[in-house]
């Protein structure tokens, strides 16, 4: 039984090895080949607080924490929390409206009328690892909103800076 197991595991490793060679060979000759090491920012370093890779120059401008906080001081600015209701209820930026991107269609009819398309809008979600704010910003842009900003630092950066919060955990 033990030998049997060992045999299968050796075969499994061999299988992975051989197909890795195939993959390497294909990536050497394929017109779709990619670099062996890509230009990715370090996932574990300080850059991880950066912008999601799917962000493009056509997307809404980005706010740093200080800028987001400055806009937070202005009562005209609408903060929109793109996370799920449970996360929102646990804690959010005071005054922020919950508009969960995952349930966009369910919320659109009740939330969109509350916000003028000429208003300054800041979307945010969990933090730099979260793209809900980006997707919501794109969707709002399609709806005709003209002054959208994305706060990628989101709830995480806000909490870490010990800025005021609203919700169950505040």
């Amino acid at each position: 039984m033990k030998n049997r197991l060992k045999k299968e595991l050796v075969r499994a490793l061999l299988l992975v090895f051989v197909w890795s060679l195939v993959a390497a060979a294909v990536n050497t000759v394929s017109p779709r080949r990619i670099a062996w090491v890509g230009p990715w920012p370090s996932t574990f370093g300080e850059d991880s607080a950066a912008v999601p890779p799917s962000y493009t120059e056509d997307d809404a401008p980005i706010l740093r924490l200080q800028e987001a906080f400055a806009m937070f001081q202005s009562p005209e600015v609408v903060f929109i929390d793109a996370r799920d209701p449970a996360d929102y209820e646990w804690g959010h930026i005071p005054g922020a409206i919950n508009f969960p991107f995952d349930f966009y269609d369910d919320y659109a009819d009740s939330v969109l009328p509350l916000i003028s398309t000429s208003a300054q809008v800041v979307t945010y979600c969990g933090g730099a690892d979260c793209e809900l704010s980006l997707y919501l910003a794109r969707q709002l842009s399609n709806e005709g909103y003209e002054h959208i900003f994305i706060f990628f630092g989101g709830q995480t950066a806000w909490e870490e800076a010990e800025l005021p919060m609203e919700g169950d955990d505040s």
Binding site: A23, V26, T43
Partner: protein, 145 residues
Amino acid sequence: MSMLKNSWLGLFFRVVLGGIFIYASLDKILHPEQFARIIFNYHLVPSNIINLMAIILPWVEFGAGVLLIAGIWPRAAGTVLTGLVAIFIVALSINWFRGVNLECGCFTVSADAKSAIGELILRDVALLLAGLQSIMASPRAWLTD
């Protein structure tokens, strides 16, 4: 237990599991660049091996899927695929816990393909069970082992 080791059921699971992985590998083999971006978004893999993983993983899925269906080293192939599914479950769970909304990169590298992570994990658990059954099934039905 006899269900678990039924060889015809094992054959069925092998074809299903192998087929799913072959299908899943194709889009990733065709678009390694997009697949690398999806791996990056999982935020689990050190940045310097992301591309290497995007190059190799789809071919291992494809190769193990073919061997599993063909009945060549089916247990080894089943072990590889079941191991992959287990890794996917862990990766999805970590990101579920983190609250990250991600493209799973399961069957397509399209950025529009988003599913609830809970459903993805459930689906992977079903695949895991199929994989375990295919490994445990007694090697009678249609094996060249």
